[in-house]
């Protein structure tokens, strides 16, 4: 009995000591300098950063996988932070395939010789899309587009089509110029600009916001979109466009064009790819499809050189 108590006490005392974890010896004195290795024969693919990189990746990585497999090309998605960076990288030939809105496209086509070879069909089934003017649902002072005069306006980006160019043309068409607004601001970058516009209006920081249609669905998981009211919709313009940089091998462009053409929304695997990319079809396109956009830019006074 006595030994039992001693054993119990010893157990209680020494159980608390535990065992030390085994450690791996590492010599920190041996060091190296980091040098990035560029991959050869890479076709770079960039999605105009209207959303965050994560959304961009989420939307397009399956498509890129499909294109890699379908074309046999080493296609890699890269993520420029801003619209300007995107455009510059096209000009620097760091972006081989640019997926951008028509406003950006007319700029890179004008500035860097990019050529459109395909454009998408929206989930609405239309090959065109519109911009939306939104305000808080409980903002009683804004009922019509005329009520937007003297209000604080936040747009996506000066280079945004649905988020700035289309609404600005819409305002001008209704006799409201930039001077009529109390304030015009652009969403801070990089990335996620469309969402930031919605969130700014939702937060009440700005009276109205301009976004491309479909954005409210993107933010529906983050905010109660019933608190947002659409004041007005712009006219439709050609949708997002795939453009090849200047001097990109035509074979590559052809392979891509064929691969895009094969995408069938009714095909199960393709549907997943297309739903992720938020369009239902990719159709062939040419530069002239975007002349209406060029005219709009001219009308609102946007210079393609800027």
């Amino acid at each position: 009995m006595k030994y039992g108590w001693i054993a119990l006490l010893s157990f209680l005392l020494f159980f608390g000591c535990g065992e030390d974890e085994s450690a791996i010896k590492v010599d920190l004195s041996i060091k190296e300098q980091i040098i990035l290795q560029e991959e050869p024969s890479v076709i770079t693919y960039a999605y105009l950063p209207q959303y965050s990189h994560t959304v961009s990746h989420t939307r397009h990585h399956s498509l890129i996988q499909y294109l890699r497999k379908e074309t046999g090309l080493n296609i890699k998605q890269i993520f420029p932070d801003t619209f300007d960076e995107h455009m510059k990288m096209v000009g620097q030939e760091k972006i081989d395939i640019s997926y951008s809105n028509p406003c950006i496209y007319i700029k890179i086509a004008h500035r860097y010789g990019a050529k459109a070879f395909a454009r998408i069909v929206e989930v609405t089934g239309k090959d065109k899309f519109r911009g939306q003017i939104i305000c808080r649902a409980d903002n009683a002072s804004i009922q019509t587009i005329s009520d937007c005069r003297h209000k604080r306006w936040i747009a996506v980006d000066s280079a945004s089509a649905g988020g700035y160019l289309f609404p600005l043309g819409h305002f001008i068409g209704h006799g409201i110029t930039k001077k009529d607004f109390k304030e015009i601001a652009f969403a801070p970058g990089p990335g996620g600009k469309q969402e930031k516009v919605v969130l700014s209006v939702y937060a009440g920081k700005y009276d109205i916001g301009t976004i491309r249609e479909g954005t409210l669905d993107v933010v529906s998981g983050r905010i109660d979109i019933n608190q947002i009211r659409i004041v007005s919709m712009t006219d439709p313009y050609p949708g997002w466009v795939y453009a090849a940089r200047k001097n990109l091998d035509a074979k590559v462009v052809e392979k891509l064009k064929q691969a895009f053409g094969k995408l069938d929304f009714n095909h199960k695997n393709h549907r997943e790819i297309l739903e992720a990319a938020n369009f239902i079809k990719v159709i062939g396109s040419s530069d002239s499809d975007f002349d209406s956009v060029r005219r709009l830019a001219a009308r609102v006074g946007i210079s393609l050189e800027e």
């Binding site: 005392l13 608390g16 791996i24 010599d27 990189h53 990746h57």
Partner: protein, 672 residues
């Protein structure tokens, strides 16, 4: 040094607290250390996961500046973070926080798969122990790379040590506080136990007036609003009412504690006044000593009574002339009386506890043992008369041995009672002899009656013949001899008749002096012829008594004749009369200067036909007749040889006759 109860309790208490503290310390240290390390690991993983999520966009954008800012900011989160770096999906470092190059050894030191939340590996750099946390950077199932965060284990241990110091201080404080509180709580207990010890010591020393329990604050008479001062519980501040017998509360059940306690436990007094276990113990101890005191008092009283009874019984036993003994079933003497001691001529202490073999000779002891064994085995009492040797000659004992049985009829021992019947035996012998003599007397009286007539005729004719013959002749002498012998025969016959036939008494009141004087007048002349002088001295007062004067005169004649026969010639006879020991007793003394009576014959002289005289001189019936007459008058006769007043060398005998006067005479009347 020997520890007391309080010391032992305190030592045990502190030992337990210390052991408890040590166990807690080791457990807490183990748990805290494990928890801290686990927390550290979790922190590393959390930082990694957080940074991994934030690192996705810079990696996608290959924005090294943002990556650098993020890893540097992470390292600055706490001084326990040693490093942070990012490996691309091929395991090559993209960005890190090391100042002068990336340590190559870290690349493969910890790996994590894409489906893992994170991986932790302890690294030993030689100077430090580092927890390396690896977290995959993933977007849409695409592994972009691996984020690694290094945390100092040593610094975590320092935190653990600080915590443990706090724990030790806390435990010591807790032990001290618990010890102080425990001692404060222990004080009443040890005080009570000390009181118990003192009380039990007092009780052991015989002082049962102990007060172990504290004074009561609530009392039954207050609760029940009772004013019965006769109740033993009333104003009894030291004993609870449920421990006391004979309480007068109407709710109380009569009886002993065991009977009443169940009822008492339902009483509101019990519910309000009963204390904790120690108080209950103290109260029950006091009640026990009180009860013990009462019982001891009863016991002493009973012992006193028992001792008195025992002494009384022993006194009775000792006063009984019979000897009595009690033996156990092994024959050992348990109790005896004084007569038994005297019989064995031993002290009581020398007899009690011993057996027959210790007290009697071998043969006798064996004989007694056989007797005792038979009685114990059969249970049949033994009655016997036993002749035993004694210091003053053989003794006759009447012995009764009776078995003593227990309640279950088992023989426990035996009681032996014995009586010295030596005298009784002698009387029995005398009685037998007397009966024999009475028969002989009656026979002789019958014969004498038949002989008396022929003797009278022979005497008459012999006297006629004597008158007719010559006085000088031979015939005359012969006839004279016939006449003489015939007269002698007639006297024998007359004595026989006197002895056997009680004549009708003629009771009168007469002066004994006169009766003596008449007798002396008859014999004085005859005695003087042989020069025997009679000296007499009468009481100056007349000694009146009620009796048969003639018979008493016969007594005096017989005594005087015996005195004369003893003297034969040249002597004196002294006769005195007077008052005896009482006024109603008359004493007559007749002493002579004769040959006296031999000592061995003194007891036989009153037997009939016993005589020391020669043939034809005495019948042996004189003193027997005398004795009979005195007895008839309820008197006594004593004989002394030599006389009480005479010279023992000169011999002689003295007869003292004491006779009751038979009159209710007062001294004044006697004197007047």
């Amino acid at each position: 040094m020997k520890l007391g109860f309080r010391g032992k309790i305190i030592l045990s208490f502190f030992s337990l607290l210390l052991i408890h503290g040590l166990v807690i310390f080791f457990w807490v240290s183990h748990v805290v250390k494990e928890s801290m390390l686990e927390e550290l690991k979790n922190r590393g993983i959390s930082i990694g996961i957080s940074l991994s999520a934030r690192m996705v966009e810079p990696i996608l954008a290959m924005d090294f500046l943002r990556m650098k800012v993020l890893v540097d900011e992470t390292v600055q989160l706490g001084d326990d973070i040693f490093y942070t770096f990012v490996l691309d999906n091929k395991g090559n470092p993209l960005i890190h926080t090391f100042k002068d190059g990336f340590p190559v050894g870290l690349k493969a030191a910890n790996t994590v798969s894409g489906n893992q939340k994170g991986s932790i590996q302890l690294l030993d750099t030689g100077d430090q122990l580092i927890f390396d946390c690896a977290v995959p950077v993933i977007i849409n199932d695409n592994r972009l790379g691996t984020l690694r965060v290094g945390l100092f284990q040593t610094r975590a241990e320092k935190v653990v040590n600080k915590i443990m110091i706090s724990v030790v201080v806390t435990i010591i404080l807790a032990i001290l506080i618990a010890g102080v509180i425990g001692m404060l709580l222990l004080n009443p207990v040890t005080r009570s136990i000390k009181k118990f010890y003192e009380s039990s010591e007092q009780a052991l020393r015989g002082n049962l007036d102990v007060r172990t329990a504290p004074m009561l604050k609530k009392n039954c008479w207050d609760i029940m609003q009772c004013h019965q001062i006769e109740c033993p519980a009333y104003k009894n501040y030291h004993h609870r009412c449920w421990y006391l017998a004979g309480t007068l509360c109407p709710e109380c059940v009569e009886g002993e504690y065991a009977r009443t306690i169940d009822s008492c436990q339902q009483c509101q007094v019990y519910k309000r006044c009963s204390g904790d276990e120690i108080q209950t113990l103290a109260e029950s101890f006091d009640a026990m000593t009180l009860s013990l005191k009462g019982n001891l008092s009863d016991l002493k009283s009973a012992e006193s009574i028992l001792n008195e009874q025992k002494a009384l019984l022993q006194m009775i036993l000792d006063a009984i002339p019979d000897f009595i003994s009690l033996q156990d079933h092994e024959g050992r003497y348990i109790s005896i009386n004084r007569a038994f001691c005297e019989m064995l001529d031993k002290d009581k202490e020398d007899i009690v506890g011993r057996v027959n073999n210790d007290l009697f000779s071998g043969t006798l002891a064996d004989h007694y043992n056989r007797e005792d064994r038979k009685i114990l085995e059969t249970g049949i009492p033994l009655v016997k008369e036993n002749r035993v040797p004694g210091s003053k000659g053989p003794k006759w004992l009447h012995v009764v041995k009776i078995p003593v049985s227990e309640a279950n009829d088992q023989v426990k021992g035996l009681v032996c009672s014995g009586r010295d019947i030596t005298q009784l035996k002698a009387v029995q012998e005398q009685l037998t002899q007397a009966q024999k003599m009475e028969s002989v007397g009656r026979l002789a009286a019958g014969v004498a009656h038949e002989i008396n007539t022929p003797l009278g005729i022979i005497l008459g004719y012999a006297q006629l013949v004597l008158e007719d013959v010559e006085k000088d002749g031979q015939i005359y002498e012969d006839v004279a001899t016939i006449v003489k012998q015939t007269k002698h025969c007639s006297k024998i016959v007359a004595d026989l008749l006197n002895f056997s036939h009680s004549r009708e008494s003629n009771i009168i009141v007469f002066n004994i002096n006169e009766a003596v004087e008449e007798v002396l007048g008859m014999v004085e002349h005859t005695f003087s012829l042989n020069h025997v002088i009679i000296k007499y001295e009468y009481d100056k007062n007349p000694l009146l008594m009620k009796g048969d004067k003639e018979k008493l005169k016969q007594v005096f004649i017989n005594l005087l004749n015996n005195a004369f026969d003893a003297i034969k010639e040249n002597g004196s006879i002294c006769v005195n009369t007077g008052i005896g020991k009482t006024q109603n007793e008359i004493k007559i003394s007749i002493s002579d200067t004769g040959a006296g009576i031999a000592k061995e014959n003194i007891n036989k002289i009153f037997e009939p036909f016993y005589t020391t005289k020669g043939p034809g001189e005495g019948t042996g019936l004189g003193l027997s007749v005398t004795f009979g007459i005195i007895k008839e008058h309820n008197g006594t006769i004593k004989v002394y040889s030599p006389p009480l007043s005479g010279d023992k060398e000169e011999g002689g005998a003295q007869f003292i006759v004491a006779l009751p006067s038979g009159l209710n005479t007062k001294k004044g009347e006697q004197n007047g």
